[in-house]
Amino acid sequence: MNPLQASCGCACSAGPKLIFSCSGAADVGELADQAARTLTRDGHGKMFCLAGIGGRVSGILKSTEAAASILAIDGCALDCAEKSLEEAGITRFNHLRLTNLGFEKGKANVNTDSIAQVVEKAKLFLS
């Protein structure tokens, strides 16, 4: 790599690790959302707008295509985040479904412990 590129601190050398959460209305959707925001705050990746994928916003789509890696977090088996990405032609991503971690839709507690549990699992996909 050109040493200027390596040291300039810009966004050219490597695409970001993007995180898409279904952010759905159910408790597991809220949990997915909070985990994605925590992961972003802790520097493990960058939460990106799933609505921008659905709305086919060109900047969101092109930046997603340039990502180093992508993690989609869905609360339940409807897999809205996964399907939204696939409908937009994005197929290269990891997928985490919270009901597979033992969270039950309609009965999940959204608190620091449950968020931390999701974050720990999601980090495995972002390392």
Binding site: N2, C10, A11, C12, G15, I60, K62, S63, E65
Partner: protein, 76 residues
Amino acid sequence: MEIKVCGPGCPNCEKAQKTVEAAIAAKGVQVTVTKVTDFQDMAKLGIFSTPAVVIDGKVKCAGRAPKQSEVEAWIS
């Protein structure tokens, strides 16, 4: 037509700028080219990977310098 070339100014971004200018010269079209170096301005366009090329508000590529042939097709 308005083209925005987004990037902070590293060699890759300079390459994108030169490619866009070469394509404009080759096609002989009337285009306004603006350089965007502020990350907040890029974020408003949804751009988080540079270089990026925006034509009339639509992001055509991000995270790479485009080929001249691509730019020529975009501005035709």
